[in-house]
């Protein structure tokens, strides 16, 4: 087995373990996006989920670059990821410049962000599509078959993580879990903002401090974020913990 395949297997094993331990879904999705960017030859990866109104929201990205975020968010109502979500099948755009006529607004934002290629694979649950996994490349060019298969496999894992109970037959229950995932993302971003301001950190630093505290105290990232945002847990306590950890 090649080193890359070892890496992929390790990634799936850790994902399965996290699922079994009832890990926080938002953290899982962020980890998945980061794994995906590392394993595939792409510059940024994002997961977009649809809310009950059918609007796409960014729930996880592999990087904190503002430009990447902008490009992902531009796909709310237009772009390869949105098309992939609507049609429920992969959309491959190896050269975005030649596809500008199809998605003019998205192509403009993407070009500004240095994105040259986009591949989107759907997150499917039975007959429904709940979102899409988006791969951004810095250079034009197609992804090979093996990479695309792997991307789809990772998207399937993300869907399972999201829906936890695969047998959930009730559509309203699925909607509720999607809504929970979106809400978790909101409080996580707010908590990052609180820690960033109070500790003078950038957003990745704020996320690292938050995740460290959650892991060491065995609490879910979402629960911790909610406590920080509602000022039930002082931000200073989280910063202090991060400082002690760095020294040890």
């Amino acid at each position: 087995m090649s080193a890359r395949e070892d890496d992929i297997v390790a990634s799936f094993v850790s994902m399965a373990g996290n699922l079994a331990r009832g890990h926080d879904v938002t953290e899982l999705l962020i980890q998945l996006a980061a794994d995906c960017a590392r394993l595939l030859d792409v510059s940024a990866v994002g997961l977009l989920l649809a809310d009950p109104r059918g609007a796409l929201h960014v729930v996880a990205v592999s990087s904190e670059r503002v430009a990447d975020l902008e490009a992902f968010q531009a796909q709310r109502a237009q772009g390869p990821c949105h098309t992939c979500y609507l049609e429920g099948k992969p959309v491959n755009v190896p050269d975005l410049a030649s596809a500008a006529a199809r998605w003019p607004e998205f192509a403009a934002v993407a070009a500004k962000a240095g994105v040259a290629s986009v591949h989107a694979v759907p997150m499917r649950l039975r007959d429904d599509t709940v979102g899409a996994l988006n791969l951004f490349g810095g250079k034009p060019g197609p992804l090979n078959e093996a990479d695309l298969r792997l991307a789809q496999a990772l998207a399937d894992v993300a869907t399972i993580a999201l829906i936890q109970d695969r047998a959930a037959a009730d559509k309203s229950l699925v909607n509720e879990q999607l809504q929970n995932a979106l809400d978790s993302r909101v409080v996580l971003e707010q908590a990052k903002g609180v820690l960033s301001y109070s500790g003078d950190l950038d957003m990745s630093g704020a996320y690292a401090a938050l995740r460290q505290y959650a892991r060491d105290h065995n609490i879910k990232l979402t629960d911790l974020s909610r406590a920080v945002v509602n000022r039930l847990l002082p931000a200073a306590v989280v910063h202090e913990h991060a400082r002690t950890r760095r020294v040890v």
Binding site: R53, H57, S172, G193, L195, V229
Partner: protein, 252 residues
């Protein structure tokens, strides 16, 4: 009716109104016209201090909404507490024992089904959209989806109500309601909201209100103000915000 027309109809109801209260009423009337329900109301629940009916499609709906506050129980209070829809297809079902006093009162007014959808601001539930029907039976999937759209839009007039000094016409002007909502639902807005929470020691809902008020008063989108905050180009102070002039950047 197809989804796009439904969305447009809800959007129009909110966009054209002269005041937040009028917008809320029109949204409720639109629910009655477009969904399979006989009445609708929007309640405002800010923590445990302010509670009350914010908008309604008519007198009966207002009464039904107020009943829930009178009795201190009901699907709208549960929808807010649990942050999820509370659907009651048959109030007269013997298995339905959640709100004994309220159920009897509602049945007395000829209401047999109630559907309560939470209205959230910055992930904080701040109220609920209640849909009432004379006949029992579930709300179909399409109607639930449409109801959730309406509940999403209901957040806009509630936000404006919380910002007393906001010029409502200006707020409703220009961009359509869905675009306004979309602008509030972006990652940078949530991160900036967190910074306001830390700087001003306020609740998440209050932080979003301040961000939006600043945006409206300067003719900017919520997203643009959020980037100013994230770039530290906007200094947050207790009694107001100060914009750093560009030429001061890097000077100190």
């Amino acid at each position: 009716m197809d989804r796009q027309r439904l969305r447009d109809a809800f959007g129009d109801a909110v966009s054209g109104a002269p005041t937040p209260l009028e917008a809320a009423d029109r949204l409720c009337v639109a629910c009655v016209e477009l969904l399979d329900v006989d009445g609708a109301s929007i309640s405002f629940i800010d923590g445990s201090t302010t509670r009350g009916t914010f908008g309604s499609s008519g007198e009966l709906s207002r009464t039904l909404d107020e009943l829930q506050f009178t009795y201190g129980e009901g699907p709208c209070l549960d929808a807010v507490a649990k942050r999820k829809p509370v659907l009651v297809p048959d109030l007269d079902d013997p298995g339905e024992r959640r709100w004994p006093a309220l159920a009897q009162a509602m049945l007395g007014h000829g209401i047999h089904a109630v559907f309560s959808l939470p209205v959230t601001i910055a992930s904080t539930p701040i109220g609920a959209l209640d849909l009432f029907r004379h006949s029992s039976g579930p709300l179909d999937g399409e109607a639930v989806t449409a109801g959730l759209w309406a509940a999403g839009l209901a957040a806009l007039p509630l936000l404006d109500l919380m910002t007393a000094d906001t010029d409502w016409r200006k707020a409703a002007d220009g961009r359509g309601s869905w675009e306004q909502l979309a602008s509030l639902e972006r990652v940078e807005v949530y991160q900036a909201t967190g910074m306001i929470i830390a700087a001003l020691q306020v609740t998440p809902a209050n932080a979003l209100v301040r961000l939006r008020a600043h945006a409206i008063s300067r003719g900017l989108t919520a997203s643009q103000v959020a980037y100013q905050i994230l770039d530290r180009g906007l200094v947050l102070e207790d009694d107001g915000w100060i914009n750093l002039p560009d030429d001061q950047e890097g000077a100190s």
